[in-house]
Symmetry: D2
């Protein structure tokens, strides 16, 4: 048996096959290390389980198994300490780890890749990364939900206009408005949960695409890594990136929800609305205009939704039309996945702080909600209770609105007699409808 | 009370408020009828439940309720018979139904819109439409799964090359390859199921955005329409289009899976691969070249994935940055939803037929799989069983591959002595590895 | 020579090659007629030129040429009259025309497809369609530009706040604001012009992909159709869809510009801004809320930008990774192209009307622009003229803004002495800066 | 006048306005420095011109002007030497430069920002960056064009099958095929040129949005920076990102073209096609399968097209629906722009090397092109020359193809008598058509 010579560690994982080393330009174009180095903890977690299984089935003796495990733990420690050094020859995180392991423990390192391929390895790493990163994101979503709920409780009775078409529509409470975002976020959280559940199966064991001729025990690895089951089809296992597409989409929809919240905040922070003011530590100024206090956080939250939507496009478009099984195009999955999860986590985190520290101007909100036109529907529904068909009631009130607008009067200026004239027998009590708090109570707010 | 005059039926739902009728250009730009007419059965189903609830809570007397129900049933019958005539004045499916109902039953029609808005109405219609249409799509996916499984059973032992990087990698069976698509489709089906479950709540009752001042009973309506629960937040209920985004994404990923299948089929149908031949009734020819027999179905399945990915972009981008609650931008949701579901259903249907009627050329596949290079990994793993570290075994075999390539020999031409020279003590039995069927059995195929 | 039998007209263009007719499901899935029928005038224009060339080079005698020309003219007339009837057997616009021509003129129709393929034919049709449709769109853009310029002239001195971050920043005029959109539209128009120039070459003559063995004269056809040159590479000519991608992108960016205009209009129409009010014939109401007057046109213009962005995704994603030359995926190009051009033309048309009929509330704008904070930069620049480094001047004014805000005073309440205290030697004249019209004049407005 | 105190350099550009420093989370969320640091040379180029103009118009005295210029040059030198150190307090490249300039030259640094805003500054930087980076990309495209043309010349007479629907269609030359890509790249280059021409106007002078009250001379700056004109509308100038969208789109279409080339190369490198083999230094191997030699470069080129398409989505979606003028969302433009240009430049560079070093297997190509079915069209066109209407000729040959296929014969086995039987009077000479080189010559290849 050839002993591992000194130069082994300088080789690519597949050297021997080709007559010349990779050109610098090609190495630079194909290397994924700057992106996938983030998978290092996951790669090591998977390798630890893989090595333990190899030992269990007799493909690795106790000494080699021991050496590999302690070497991998040491690499993880180096990584945690920020002391893991990549080599220019490392193609990706997998080869970097194997190279370093060989430096640390020698010959046993050459036995680790037994019965696996980078194809099933990276598919496993991605799932481990996604599992732990989504868990952190879900914590962030929970915090944002708590913030929304806390502020909503404080403003349970803060009246404000509800808008459709950005036109004042009917009075609502700030609580109702903020809890609408909470409802969106709860669906988002559930969506991530579904994606994780669907991805809860182990690709390792699929090898390059066709499993292995060695007596591996994937169920053993699944157990060690906390997967519920082993992927059923080896060719699917190495070419499947559904978990990437699905999680990136869930991030995109989460960011879309955040962008709607942000749009409302940008509006509310304007002089024209005046409903909200960011904390001084959460606002920014202008390099030119001394008076400016800008809600940049909300604008960036809105703008970054575009980026995560684009990450979703990357994931789907990259996959479209790829023949089975693994194609190198799949390398592009990680950049999109990492970006979508990063932006999402940062955004929910900063929005929680933005909301928590903002001042809501209940007076401005109440004044805006006090526009009697917002109760036009209440009048129409009052007429319905008096027996007028709704479509007629709507027309009666609409015409009255047009009339008072033309006469530069308010709806509250219309007397019961005037109402009676257009809605005979149904007008009694209309003039009493124009109380904002009563209007909210009529709607259960 | 003003009686409904003759002209009422020519009015928009909101006439009375504005001094002049809508300009033709604006009417044409804002009308959604050519798209949303497909919601008619759903709109009527929802209206029937709404009217029944209005009766139950005392807002509609028995006669009106009766008249409305029979009128709606008649409109549905007209629709089924292709006899429902739209009017140029109809803005959308909701106004078309109310207009027609008024023509049919008169005054009671003016009472139907009591306590609801088109905002909660269309949100409800979309869910009903999605529920029934996704159910049909799931049937189509099931049929495609059955076809795949049936053909896979026929080809359980049909050897073919498995590919990575479109390079022959290791031998697999056609069954394994086809069942990889089945695994994708099973995840797709589950994804639609999750989306439906998440959307299983009734928006009706949310009104325009703030509920109603009338004593409605949304739980009654939910029960009648088969929803598990009522939307918790009225402002969310009318602005939420998650079900659209999520279903369109599920369609996009389904189509991406189909596009991968299609890419494989296009390759297999080429003269170079020669693995597959479409049925004559499933192929097309050329207007110029008399010899052509083209797999257009597979190409279109691949190309249309682009369109459904774009539908997903429409849904997300349309929603991004919209303030609460309803904005007219939301109207664009339906075109994307309908297109994504149509393309998906058509594609899974036509692919089932395409696969079912295609001829798979087992001879060509087996010949391609018989390339001894596909068993290079088997040799390396054999060396591992003989104690060689895998990384060394890989290098030994890779160098042998390079050598035989240079000498224009085959791997099967290498004698045990030659192997022994490079892998001392581990070579015994290598030359016996090059049996295709045995290689498949070693992998459990 | 076999005479064209009775049944020829029922055949596909390529029948003879395959043993069985196309299945109904495949026909329905592959047919493009519902989309590409719009190319009929272009298809006929190209066929007329092609037939004339065939005559010129001696491949068509005078009688056949005559018959074909008059037959094609008649089909065009049928089309203009809405009387062109498609047959269920027509695969696409090309086969529909050839089928109908055969019905009208018999045997000569069988000679029209000489030396061409549907591949070069459709590439030509698309260019003709794009040329005439973009010309119409450019007229629409011109009209919108005229409207903007006319309204801008009316409001040359109408002061309003200019916004950054949706915060009031500095005073501008409505004219300046409206002409910013005009600048965008002018770039859009130039972009379409570039795309047309780049596409000004004739694909016809490229055949399926490799030209023809017949003595065709593509330059003759180019001259007749008004193309400047013939495509240089036949394989590129039939697989190139750059004109689609480029025009759809130009539409997407045009719509993005329109969406920004629309967003401003939606804001301006809100009660909070109150800067703009749509004409009654250009607004819509609510089915529930009698008081509503909504700017739906602006919302739809904004929302439909999402759709055209998605059309751009369709075009690019459909093309990505397609091998040369023609693949059926390319069929999806037309739906995206037509939709992008339709939406763009409709939107610029309706926006011109929307702007033309809207009322701009100069009083509300001026009041909002009169906030003295908008002149904080003027104060800082005044200090600069007095020798203060700008960064210091900025800080001095910013601190003053903070102070007056805390004291609930206005910047105009700050005396020259107070300014002198913080900016010794540079404060003279500051209190005179707070005149809105003078501030506009200082900026050349 | 307050002297710049020690702490000035720790401040944000706008400190003074707000009571508390920015929170760490907000700083991290809003900082763009990790992305926009690449603009440093452009920012300095623009600042040098701006400062020179300030001196020319008398807003900066000679000493200050001198100090600023030498300070900026020194920062540029630090940047070139990799020695420019960012501070955690720097918000973006603009504030980093101003901060460092202040460290280097003191008080004059506080005068540089006179009459400008980061809004017009970054718009200018982006144009300068784009101008120089696109110039480099155009050089890369030129090199790729040269490579294609050189290889095409070597293979002017190398026959290969041309494909439609990935079915062999007609014989072409490798030259014709490679030059089809060249045609695409030439359009790409022109497209970048158009974008640069359209962006050839200076935003600087627009200030935050409304110009300045100081006597600036933007034409002076334009001259110094090599812009042909000054932006006409200040509000457009600071909110316009057309150059980003247009250049990113041009990159996306370029990458789509590259992806089509890559797809062909992936096919050609397969064992089934066998037309092409990458250089050993341009190929990669497998970590598991010792025999593999993979064309990863081509796969990544194809996959990365997805990413640049997504960059185009980011640019358009980010801009959609933004009100005028500057909104912080615009910050996301740079990441998309930089990525699109980087990927494009890397891809054209690596593809030139990939093609240059690949081996084209003329023997395999010729063998594939020698399939007589590829000349079926030649037969049909021969019949046309004999007077048969093309549609009939097509049918006659198609039926013959079907017959010989059924009889497992070749088209070359069909005797003239057999042809005569189906095409009386037109068959003479058909059997002489089946010469590949002659067939190419008939098409001018």
């Amino acid at each position: 048996m050839t002993p591992p010579d000194e130069d082994t560690k300088r080789r690519t994982l597949w050297e021997g096959r080709l007559a010349s080393p990779m050109s610098e330009r090609v190495r630079s174009y194909t290397s994924s290390l700057d992106v996938d180095l983030r998978l290092l903890p996951d790669d090591i977690e998977a390798s630890l389980a893989h090595a333990a299984m190899l030992h269990d089935v007799g493909l690795l003796d106790g000494d080699a198994s021991q050496a590999i495990a302690s070497g991998l733990q040491r690499i993880l420690a180096e990584c945690d300490a920020g002391a893991f050094a990549v080599s220019p020859d490392d193609e990706d995180v997998h080869s970097a780890v194997e190279r370093r392991l060989h430096e640390l423990v020698g010959e046993p390192a050459l036995r680790l890749h037994t019965g696996r391929s980078r194809n099933d390895q990276v598919a496993t790493d991605i799932r481990l990364y996604t599992r732990r990163t989504v868990a952190a994101l879900l914590d962030g979503i929970d915090s944002l939900l708590s913030t929304l709920q806390r502020v909503a409780e404080q403003h349970e009775h803060t009246a404000m206009p509800g808008y459709t078409h950005l036109q004042r529509a009917q009075p609502v409470t700030l609580s109702r408005h903020l809890l609408a975002y909470a409802a969106m976020l709860q669906r988002d959280a559930a969506r991530f949960g579904d994606a994780l559940r669907r991805a809860d199966e182990l690709p390792l064991g699929a090898g390059a695409l066709a499993g292995s001729t060695l007596p591996l025990d994937p169920a053993n690895v699944a157990r060690r890594l906390g997967f519920s089951r082993v992927a059923a089809n080896s060719m699917d296992a190495v070419s499947d990136r559904d978990v990437v597409a699905e999680v990136v989409f869930a991030c995109a929809l989460l960011m879309v929800h955040c962008s709607r919240m942000c749009e409302d905040f940008v509006l509310w922070c304007s002089a024209e609305f005046g409903f909200m003011s960011p904390g001084d530590a959460q606002a920014t100024g202008s390099s030119l205009m001394p008076q400016k206090k800008n809600p940049d956080v909300a604008e960036l939250g809105r703008g970054r939704a575009a980026r995560v939507i684009a990450d979703c496009v990357t994931a789907l478009t990259m996959l479209k039309g790829l023949p089975l099984t693994y194609d190198r195009d799949l390398q592009e999955d990680k950049r999109a996945l990492f970006d979508a999860l990063d932006v999402s986590a940062d955004t929910v985190g900063v929005l929680a702080e933005f909301i928590d520290t903002a001042r809501f101007n209940a007076g401005r909100m109440r004044a805006a909600a006090s526009d009697p036109l917002l109760l036009a529907t209440d009048v129409a529904e009052h007429l319905v209770r008096g027996g007028v068909p709704f479509r007629e009631a709507h027309r009666i009130v609409a015409e009255m609105v047009r009339r008072v607008e033309a006469e530069q009067r308010s709806l509250t200026d219309v007397s019961e007699a005037e109402w009676e004239a257009v809605a005979p027998g149904a007008a009694s009590g209309i003039t009493g409808l124009f109380d904002l708090d009563a209007a909210l109570r009529r709607r259960g707010m």
